[in-house]
Point group: C2
Chain length 481, copies 2
């Protein structure tokens, strides 16, 4: 944090305490994660942002395959009639779908809509593919773009078009479908916690908040720096609802034709917004090492001096065998400027190599998470870097967890809930009678919603704080993105 | 080729000599590569077909990154006004774009079209991002879906929606843009020949056949089993056409503002159709090992016998460390049925393990390309399998090359060209004056088109066979998909 130019560089980011929303916008634009597209509600994911998505795809896809799923691709465009088959689903999605009416100069015989999610087209195909119990289970995932018409935009968090994966499975029994629904939620938890260093709370959504057409929706909820919740992934048990509407029947072992049971589950580019808001600080991004597009940046210092650039290149090439590494050998910027630049980009580990380092057979290392500076012997560098990246992951997870715990309150006093949501939003653990009335009242009076009925239920009291009747569930409530 | 059931199994595929088009349809449907979607012109890519696309993505993306490109994502939907900016481009694409007119119940202020290719939206963003020579080159690629409205469908070869990658680069000089255009064509050649075992001819497209809005289009052309050509990948030098229309200007080192030079290049799910039609035979698919979704299938024989299934599982697990392997332990099908099934699926190598094999410390291997059967010691199996897969790749490439050579004719006699195209289509090497008239005449009178002016020019004669004027280029002509 030396000269004036460097300070200005950091000053470009609005401090999060001052205006969290502006901080977010500053960070995503200044780090080249994203840009606004000239189409209302749409974003352009720039290479640095897309690199994070590639990381998420890599770690999620591996787990999908390990749990027996295969990828496929279904059409973007779906005939109007399909949307109307499942009534709740139609009601949920019709207001936000985009309609294709013409091809070239010709009007289409039947209007098509752009998938906001693909249950309708996928179930139509499954109805054709599933005939016998031998065809089950169907375990298919799709990586795709979807569109839900939005006029407002919050890049990564709320955009008309976004990228996601949607798993769609079919099973012979209710038990298997439920098992799959929960298994994929657990996979999502692993992706969030073990890869993105983002602690999550697992639980079930209320009737009001569940997916349009589902029997049960499970969710993972993460807390952002400002105490608000982000729904980071959902897994739906669709029961036989879609099977009945789209006629997915199979001949069972016992010779009886039965309706199948289905599930769907998804995570999206929203997770990138989550990474930014869980880990970032006033210097910019902090990338979780396991999905960071660049894990290590190598900076030659005083690299007009003989041997420095060669050594930096050598180290970069060596590390590149095991990590995603970049060498910043631009001679148009000062080292101080580069320090701030790469901190803003959130690269987990910076390695500096100058003449003195070479002399001493070491590199100077700076961790992005703690800003700690230390030296490492060049000997055995690869192994050491691996250990440090693991430690950065764990430290980032712990920091995020601590932050969440600090902003999690337990109370069954509605007045206190109101006060928390007004003055210092966070997660509130409380009780609930289970009624829609209380849920609506909460939303209307505090702006907060029921995030989930967590799997880890605690008995915090006997009565619902909103109506005074008997409490049925422990819940997390929060304001949410 | 034992019992009746097995023969029937193979009989389901129409022999290619009888009806090549029906052979193709039979193969893609019976091997679960693809299915027809309930939307006109659209396909569903089933897991086995999508697995091939994942293989192509893997080998191509690696090379894109090695040549300095990064992935990004641009919006699916583009405002109408953008399409009109580049006149040739508009003329080329307007007749086949799909129009989005409504969001929910609301009419949109400006109609949007679904990208048929993304030059218009990407150049709009580049205009904003490129300010100085320091911002160049821009080397970005996008993996995406595109839609070009088609009423007919030929899965993988011609569909309304397809998956592809589109690289879009910007450069400071004409020379750099040309270098990039040719570099990416070379990358495509590597993907086709070194990964898909598909020999290609590289060359330049005629003015008529070039991309709408390009200065020059380069192509790789592959020959299918029926002697027809498949345009398997193209790379376009866009000159300053898009830079001028979309205002991509930069301040050069010399302090002068200049228009930039751009390129674009793409390969698509069409390549899957190419793989099928270059390598397949009357037993079904032959998957090139390096992109095969399953490289090795392990079949336990007589697996009710003690130890067989365990051993098969052990071998599968061992090979899975290095290869994409599947164990077929279904007890509902006979071994004979399975042999045919996996041959039809085109899995490059089948390993059978029965009680006798275990006794002798061996496995029985069958290559899909040659149908050759032989034994392999279990000791050192991984290394051996690697060698065999490499050999299968090379043998498949050689076979395809030989097939192409057998169906490539050299003549400057137009009557002979007509006869070839009518009786026994293939590639014809001939000469051309360069005129649009001769090109149109050829198409009209023979159904064949100029596939390219190959880089490897030969002097086959002095006059154009179509008009008798002076010949300017050697060309390949063929009927094409």
């Amino acid at each position: 944090m030396g000269n004036k130019k460097e300070q200005e560089f950091v000053k470009e980011i609005t401090p999060m305490e001052e205006d969290f929303s502006q901080w977010y916008t500053d960070v995503i634009l200044k780090t080249d994660m994203v840009d606004y597209a000239p189409v209302k509600g749409c974003m352009v994911i720039k290479p640095y942002g897309y690199g994070v998505w590639e990381g998420i795809q890599r770690v999620a896809d591996k787990r999908f395959k390990e749990t027996g799923h295969k990828n496929a691709y279904f059409p973007l465009l779906i005939p109007e009639s399909f949307l109307k088959k499942e009534a709740d689903h139609f009601e949920g999605f019709a207001p936000e779908v985009l309609w294709v009416t013409h091809g070239g100069n010709e009007e289409l015989a039947e209007k098509l809509f752009i998938r906001p999610t693909s249950e309708t087209i996928i179930c139509t195909m499954y109805s054709k593919w599933v005939q016998s119990y031998r065809d089950l289970p169907v375990l298919i995932n799709q990586w795709a773009n979807v569109v839900r018409w939005e006029k407002t935009i919050r890049p990564f968090l709320r955009t008309a078009e976004f990228l996601w994966q949607e798993g769609h499975t079919v099973h012979a029994t209710e038990e298997e479908a439920q098992e799959e629904t929960l298994k994929m939620l657990e996979v999502y938890r692993q992706v969030a916690e073990d890869e993105l260093a983002m602690p999550v709370i697992l639980g079930q959504k209320s009737e009001k908040e569940k997916f349009a057409g589902a029997n049960k929706t499970y969710t993972m909820e993460a807390m952002m720096h400002d105490g608000k919740a982000l729904q980071a992934g959902t897994s739906h048990n669709l029961g036989q609802n879609f099977a009945k509407m789209f006629d997915i029947q199979f001949l069972d072992k016992d010779g009886v034709r039965k309706y199948a049971w289905s599930t769907s589950w998804g995570i999206s580019t929203r997770l990138i917004g989550g990474i930014i808001m869980v880990h970032g600080d006033n210097r910019g991004l902090k990338m979780p090492p396991r999905v960071a597009p660049i894990q290590v940046v190598v900076l030659p210092i005083a690299f007009h001096k003989e041997g420095v650039l060669d050594k930096a290149m050598e180290i970069k090439n060596e590390l590149a065998k095991n990590f995603r590494v970049e060498l910043d050998d631009r001679d148009t910027y000062s080292s101080g400027w580069k320090f701030n630049y790469w901190e803003m980009k959130g690269v987990p580990l910076r390695l500096e190599i100058g003449p003195k380092d070479i002399e001493l057979g070491q590199v100077t290392a700076v961790r992005r998470d703690t800003l700690e500076k230390f030296t490492l012997p060049m000997e055995g560098l690869t192994e050491k870097v691996g250990e440090i990246l693991d430690d950065i992951h764990q430290t980032m997870f712990n920091t995020a967890l601590k932050n969440r715990e600090q902003k999690t309150y337990t109370t069954t006093d509605y007045e206190e809930i109101k006060k928390i949501m007004k003055e210092n939003p966070g997660f509130v653990k409380t009780m609930w009678c289970g009624s829609r009335e209380c849920e609506d009242k909460l939303k209307e009076e505090t702006g907060a919603t029921i995030r989930c009925m967590p799997f880890e239920q605690e008995h915090l009291g006997d009565t619902c704080p909103f109506c005074g009747k008997k409490a049925e569930h422990m819940i997390y409530i929060a304001k949410a993105y």
